[in-house]
Structure formats: structure tokens, C-alpha cells
């Protein structure tokens, strides 16, 4: 571990942490002040050298993404912050924006200055009204204090920020679907190329970055490249929020250098709930293949998680103990992807429908052994054939759970019922209803 953290979450516990005055009292906007005195190129270079990689799941180097914008042609260029956090298990950006919206505004100012953007957008999911209130207020405070608007702090740099509320669609977390949604259309992904860097919002050069990526930028400018690169691993540098949920004693947000392990995180979180042991977990949200206790010591960085057959994703660690039926878990995720599939491409639209149907009958004890193979075949028809990553993500938990727990699927067929007591997994005591007991 390192004593350099917490960084992103450092101010969350302060009284009225969301206010401008609180943020400034802790050094807020010092980085923006410094950045406005730097050249845009040197900011981009610093973010490249620091090794910051996208915190929204894909892990693409942030500075390189900025560097992909074509040379200025006199027309507008945009920064769009992806605050549409909705991947199951992912719950880091919402608390960031609720407790510390100004770090996002400050990051957006620095980023916009670096890429030559005069109008940035924050696309926040619509189902979190209090977060939207806090963002609107923070933006207003930034205008009132001269951090937004014309000639910011006398620098000659102009920036407006519009905070835009979505309306309930997971697919809008996909960057091109988000852009279509922000343009007032159905949120469906676009064919790439062209990438947003070339033709993004209103077909203009656009950078789309996750909340946590942008929120990490001020700390890099304030503390320097070496400070940031001193945390993490060779290719996965810096700190990040690890979100632990499920059957652990103290679920929550644990900021740590990339490369920390689940074993270390569990120590911080007080371990599994009393009397129970780890069965399976997602390293990076529901779109990443499942891990088990075998992976307790896998460093949680992009390379190591990838080498172990999954993805670091959004560091959304959903943790389940031995009371949990994996078929039930996977069925519910499949239902999510079916619900959220935008319908644009056939493999995803039809595939997620069939996955849900088959998983439902397996969990209900009405499946056959052939259904298990059919699930794998259906996943094969989706993976790599869908228009965007939603379809691929839908297959991850299905395929990996069959690899890891095939006998549990077979048990459902053999018994003609789910072998688990669902009440045992709940965090409160209850008597299962008759329907559930015979599910």
C-alpha cells in the first residue's frame, strides 16, 4: 500500500464537502490555476507521462486520447464527461459527484484548456436527482467565482459547462450512444470509425472521458507526474476507487493504487460476512468474466486481470459467498442486458432475449442439459458479432460461470429446482414465500 491515498475521496467526509468554499479550503482549483499558466501541449504531455488510463472501463490512455484530436481548424471542439454510471456493480462516480462535484469541474476546466474546448458537457444519468442538483450548483458556483464563463481568472480562456441529465438507458454509457443521446436522439451506438476524436458531438472533434478519469487530472497537475506514477504498477499507474459490494462486512469505496489485490481489499473491508466464504466475484462489473477465490491474489491492474481471463473494467467488485446460486445471479444479469439492449443489432437484441429465456428456465428447474450447451452456443453468436461492447459484456458472466460452475447448472436440471435457499443469501432474515421455495 501507499500512504499517498486517499486523493479522489479525500474530502468526502468534510462538512458540506460539495461546496466551493470547502473544496477551495483543501487546495481546490490550485491545479486549474497552475494549468492555466502551462501550455496546452505540456498538460497533455503530463497526463501522458503520468500514465493515466481511462477509468470508465476500457483503460485507454487518457493523454493519448486527447492527443488524437486533429489540429485546430477554427471550429469548435468538445469535451464530454461520461457520468452515465450504470454498469451493474459500478458505484464510484455517483458518490464522487455527490460529495465532490468541484473536482470534476476543475478536471473539466484543465482538460478543456488542454484540448482547446470552449464548451464542455457532463452527461449524468437521470436517475440520480440529488447528484444532478449538486452538479448544477457546483457549475453555478464556478461561474460565480470566475472559474467558468469568459476569460477565466484573467487567462483569456473561455469555457461553458452544460450539465445534461439522461433519461434511463444503460447503453448511453457507450460513448457514441451517449453522443447521439446528447444530440437529442435515441441512444444507439455509432459505427466506428470515425472515432469521436475526429467526428464526435455534432460531428466535431470530441473527447469523451469518464468522471473518475477527469477527476484524476487535477491531482496529476498539482502533485506532478512522478507522484502519480509512483503509485500502481508498471503499466497501470496511479490510484483508483475500488467499489466493494455484496457479502463483505464493510462494503464501500476503497481508494487504492492499481495493482492491489482482493485479499488486501477484503482486509480493509473487514473480510467476508461472518461464517461465510468467498464463492465468486466480478473484478470490474457485470460485463467482466467471473473470478473465484483462486484470484484473491491477482493484482487488480489492467494487465494482470486480463492475463487471468477477465477485465479490470470499472473496479466494481461484486462479491458473493457460498450461499449464492450462480445461475440465479447470471440469469438476473442476462435480464439486465436484454432490457438494456438498444435493439440496433440482431446478435445482441435476439441473443440477450434467448439467453434470458434459457437461463430463466434453468433457474426454475425446467431446463435440460442441452440448454447449458445452447447458452454457450448463443454466447458464441453474440461475442464479437455485436455492434458495440454491450453484447460482448452480456456473454461474460454466462460463459465464465459455465466454465467455473458447470456442475451447479447441471444440478438445477437434475433436481428440477434451484438447489439453493435464496433467503440464506439475503442480508436480513425472512421466510421464503411458497413460490420462491418451489422456484
Amino acid at each position: 500500500m501507499t500512504d499517498l491515498i486517499p486523493v479522489l475521496s479525500a474530502t468526502w467526509g468534510l462538512e458540506r464537502s460539495w461546496n466551493y468554499d470547502t473544496y477551495v479550503s483543501k487546495g481546490g482549483y490550485d491545479a486549474a490555476k497552475k494549468a492555466l499558466g502551462m501550455s496546452p501541449e505540456s498538460i497533455i504531455q503530463a497526463v501522458k507521462d503520468a500514465g493515466l488510463r481511462g477509468r470508465g472501463g476500457a483503460g485507454f490512455p487518457t493523454g493519448m486520447k486527447w492527443g488524437f484530436l486533429p489540429a485546430p481548424d477554427g471550429g469548435p471542439r468538445y469535451l464530454v464527461v461520461n457520468a452515465d454510471e450504470s454498469e451493474p456493480g459500478t458505484c464510484k462516480d455517483i458518490p464522487t459527484m455527490m460529495a465532490a462535484p468541484h473536482v470534476l469541474i476543475e478536471g473539466a476546466i484543465i482538460t478543456s484548456f488542454a484540448i482547446g474546448c470552449n464548451h464542455a458537457f457532463i452527461y449524468v444519468r437521470g436517475e440520480v436527482v440529488h447528484v444532478y442538483r449538486r452538479l448544477l450548483k457546483a457549475v453555478q458556483e464556478a461561474y460565480d467565482t470566475g472559474w467558468l464563463g469568459k476569460n477565466i481568472q484573467g487567462s483569456g480562456f473561455d469555457l461553458d459547462i452544460t450539465v445534461h441529465a439522461g433519461a434511463g438507458a444503460y447503453i448511453c454509457g457507450e460513448e457514441t450512444a451517449l453522443l447521439d443521446s446528447l444530440e437529442g436522439r435515441r441512444g444507439q451506438p455509432r459505427l466506428k470509425p470515425p472515432f469521436p476524436a475526429v467526428a464526435g458531438l455534432y460531428a466535431r472533434p470530441t473527447v469523451v472521458n469518464n468522471v473518475e478519469s477527469i477527476a484524476s487530472v487535477p491531482s496529476i497537475i498539482a502533485n506532478g507526474v512522478d507522484w502519480f506514477a509512483g503509485m500502481g504498477t508498471e503499466r497501470s499507474k496511479g490510484m483508483g476507487l475500488f467499489s466493494l459490494s455484496g457479502h463483505v462486512k464493510k462494503p464501500g469505496q476503497y481508494e487504492a493504487p492499481l495493482g492491489i489485490t482482493l485479499r488486501e481489499l477484503l482486509e480493509m473491508a473487514g473480510g467476508m460476512r461472518e461464517g461465510h466464504e468467498l464463492k465468486f466475484w466480478t473484478p470490474g462489473g457485470s460485463s467482466t468474466p467471473l473470478f473465484t477465490a483462486e484470484h484473491l491474489d491477482t493484482p487488480l491492474d489492467y494487465e494482470s486481470v486480463g492475463a487471468a481471463g477477465s477485465m479490470l473494467g470499472t473496479r466494481a467488485l461484486q462479491i458473493f459467498d457460498e450461499t449464492t446460486c450462480v445461475v440465479r445471479a447470471v440469469e438476473r444479469w442476462a435480464e439486465f442486458y436484454k432490457h438494456e439492449s438498444c435493439g440496433k443489432c440482431t446478435p445482441c437484441r435476439e441473443g440477450t432475449y434467448w439467453l434470458t429465456l434459457i437461463l430463466h428456465r434453468l433457474e426454475a428447474g425446467q431446463g435440460t442439459y442441452a440448454d447449458i450447451d445452447q447458452l454457450i452456443a448463443t454466447c458464441d453468436s453474440i461475442l464479437g458479432r455485436a455492434f458495440c461492447a454491450l453484447g460482448d459484456g452480456a456473454t461474460s458472466s454466462v460463459t465464465s460461470s459455465i466454465q467455473l460452475f458447470r456442475e451447479e447448472y447441471e444440478k438445477h436440471v437434475e433436481l428440477g429446482a434451484c438447489p439453493f435457499d435464496h433467503a440464506a443469501s439475503a442480508l436480513f432474515d425472512y421466510e421464503p414465500s411458497p413460490e420462491e421455495a418451489h422456484a
Partner: protein, 218 residues
């Protein structure tokens, strides 16, 4: 359209404000649909026509967008949108049982509204609060760490017309129409209500404190 003169004038003024936020007018459509819901409580035929007129679109173009997003309601919505997260993590931590009990108490199922128009019930997808599971949302405010008992108390209070207080949010939950107006980008002055964070959000910094990690200042 059947909006009376003063409603139409107010809507038109708000629509102009929304349009002014964007370099290209069509971007105003999503917030404008939230605005329509703040008046009508759903995406009404009048609301669709209004958005179409404002943005130079046809009503089918507006409908095509409205029907894509789950927050836009196609029928008059209840005063309180009550959601129980039944995505995997919450469902397994107890969300399924909470859903069963809440649905039974309200006497309605998913995407249905109680006869008195108080509650529209919804099986929610993940609302980014997994460390607070099981989670419920009322008009898009967080109700964390729920049990069947607290959930039933919550819906009983709503059905009885009592104000309800989210775990992390405004002091009381605003109505569906009031919240829709906020989502259209019109602040209601309540940003300073409620806590900065819930206990799970602070779990990591508690550990850091115990360990003597200083963070950015070190």
C-alpha cells in the same frame, strides 16, 4: 394542443432557456421531455406536439426518442415513482424479497400505478449504489440498506401522504413532477440538503485514517 395560455407561455419560456444551453437546438429534446413530464406527469400527446413545434421535428420523431428511455412515462405516472433494485447484487442481498412484499402491499406490479395515483412501481436496474444494497429509489432519491420492514414503512408513509426522507438526498422527496423539473435543468434550491456521503462511501477513508495514510498532502 390543449395547454391553456399561461401554461403554454411558461413552457415556451422554459423551452427557450433549455435551448440556450446547447450549440445545436435538438440537444434540448431530452431535458424538454423532462419538462413536459413536470407539467403533465407523463409524455402526453400535447407534450410531444410541444417539443416537436419547439425543435422543428415531427411528432413521430419526438415519440421515437421518448419511447427509447425508461424515465419517460407513456401513461400518467404516480406522484411517487417507487423502484426496488432487482438487478443481481441487490436482488440477492434481499431485493427480490423486498420487491415481493412491496408489490403485494401496493397491489400493483412492475410499471403499474396504484388506483389512488400515489405510487408507480418499478423493478429497477442497477442505480450505482451497490455498496448500499439492497437499494430502493423514490423519485430518483436514494433509500439505502433497505429491509422488508423499512420498505413497507416507506410505501405505507407514501400511501398515507406523509413526507419521506431519503438516506442520501433532499430532506424530503419531491413529487414526480417537481423532480422532473429539476431533471430538465431547473434547480429547486435543494442541493445543500442531505449529507455529503453515506457510510460505505467513507469506508475507505476511515481505513486510511486508522492506518495514518495522509493522502495528497503527504
Amino acid at each position: 394542443m390543449t395547454y391553456d395560455e399561461s401554461t403554454l407561455a411558461a413552457l415556451t419560456k422554459d423551452a427557450a432557456e433549455i435551448k440556450s444551453r446547447y450549440p445545436v437546438e435538438r440537444s434540448a429534446l431530452l431535458p424538454m421531455l423532462h419538462l413536459v413530464q413536470s407539467i403533465d406527469g407523463y409524455i402526453s400527446p400535447d407534450g410531444i406536439q410541444f417539443c416537436a413545434d419547439q425543435l422543428g421535428l415531427t411528432p413521430p420523431e419526438v415519440s421515437a426518442v421518448a419511447t427509447f428511455y425508461t424515465q419517460y412515462k407513456r401513461r400518467p405516472n404516480g406522484e411517487y415513482q417507487v423502484g426496488v433494485c432487482t438487478n443481481t447484487l441487490c436482488a440477492i442481498m434481499g431485493g427480490d424479497e423486498i420487491w415481493r412484499r412491496v408489490s403485494e402491499r401496493c397491489g400493483v406490479g412492475h410499471d403499474e400505478t396504484t388506483a389512488d395515483g400515489k405510487i408507480s412501481l418499478e423493478r429497477l436496474e442497477c442505480n450505482a449504489a451497490c455498496d448500499f444494497a439492497p437499494v430502493m429509489m423514490v423519485n430518483w432519491e436514494f433509500f439505502d440498506n433497505m429491509t422488508p420492514e423499512t420498505a413497507l414503512q416507506l410505501v405505507d408513509d407514501i400511501l398515507d401522504g406523509k413526507p419521506v426522507t431519503p438516506t442520501r438526498g433532499a430532506d424530503t422527496v419531491a413529487t414526480f413532477k417537481e423532480v422532473s423539473r429539476v431533471l430538465a435543468g431547473f434547480p429547486d434550491g435543494r442541493a445543500d440538503e442531505g449529507p455529503s456521503a453515506g457510510a460505505p462511501s467513507l469506508a475507505g477513508i476511515e481505513v486510511a485514517k486508522e492506518q495514518g495514510w495522509k493522502g495528497q498532502d503527504s
